[in-house]
Assembly symmetry: C2
Homo-oligomer: 200 residues x 2
């Protein structure tokens, strides 16, 4: 390479970011060196601290700085509802929607026998223990509407079979503000089957 | 935010990277936390060291770890040719092409009076001093074929008017392997005007 070892190493390390190839890594490195040294230094510190300091909440499995995360630690959120999601981004999307006020359980994945991901890897026993210990009355299975997400939801529901607990799944349908012409057939079928009286 | 301060700060700092918005920053942060802690730690170190350690070569103005960069310090590259480029990426592209073996001068920009970028800001005096001191016989003005790049090239050429030095500009034309139908009109005009006998 034509550059200094420090620049070369910076370009190389930037490639650990998802979706960042050689060209983008170069552009990022030059941008930081030319116009973003303050931001670059801040990022270096934030990365260093996050990589060593961030762990998993022992209650919901989400990323946290402490043993118990802010949501699990908040008594107001112990409503008897527990929402099961696949990833922290899913949790974030629900939090940003702002309506749901109960607790969470973050699987950090979904069942995928072919990749060696079984119930243990995504913490199903821990989830079932919480349902028991916290007297959960509603378990919302908000895994993704994919084959794996559906299979994971069904597996969890089966494990709770016979218990006195309401198990729900998020409604499928036309996105609010969406145009019918752009909605795929599966969603449209779901929307038809789930249709409700206008007065509802 | 629903996350820990460490994760929030990581997401926020990732936004200093060019082209990275909130959603991408989130995706990057989660990826590093879930599957890339080794890479993330390496990036933290590389960033920290580059942000404090990388300076500008006092001879060519390119990024360097030392006062004089590897190219300027290499006696083999003192061929009497100096290639003027706008940015480190341009230098890198030429180095990767592998044919040119002379020296460089990196402007780190181009003349842009409207943005307050005059000859001093891009080091023109330093360049002229080098041309003098190093007995440069050919100055290749490889600034971009844009209005500002052309203006910068002409300004440098004017400042060397009357000197016994060959001043050249890179040839415009059809990219090798390019299809005529995809080449823009300006390039095609240049290619026509620069046409050469087949025996050449
Ligand atoms: Zn938690
Ligand atoms: Zn140099």
């Amino acid at each position: 390479m034509a550059f200094s070892p420090l620049v070369d190493e910076l370009v190389e390390s930037l490639r650990c970011l998802p979706g960042v190839g050689q060209k983008t890594a170069q552009r990022m490195a030059f941008h930081l060196l030319e116009r973003g040294r303050t931001g670059g230094t801040r990022l270096a510190d934030a990365l260093g601290q996050a990589m060593t300091g961030v762990r998993r909440c022992t209650s919901c499995q989400n990323f946290a700085d402490t043993e118990i995360c802010g949501i699990c630690d908040n008594p107001v959120r112990r409503t008897g509802s527990l929402c099961v999601v696949e990833s922290p981004s899913d949790l974030l999307a629900i939090e940003q929607a702002g309506d749901y006020r109960g607790g969470y359980f973050v699987l950090m994945g979904h069942l995928s026998p072919i990749d060696g991901v079984g119930p243990e890897e995504i913490g199903i026993e821990r989830l079932l223990q919480r349902v028991e210990d916290e007297n959960i009355s509603e378990l919302i299975l908000a895994t993704n509407p994919t084959v794996e997400g559906e299979a994971t939801a069904h597996y969890i529901a089966d494990r709770l079979d016979g218990r006195d607990i309401l198990i729900t799944r998020l409604a499928h349908g036309i996105p609010v503000g969406g145009e019918l012409g752009y909605v795929d057939g599966f969603t449209l079928t779901h929307a038809f089957r789930g249709r409700k009286p206008l007065s509802d």
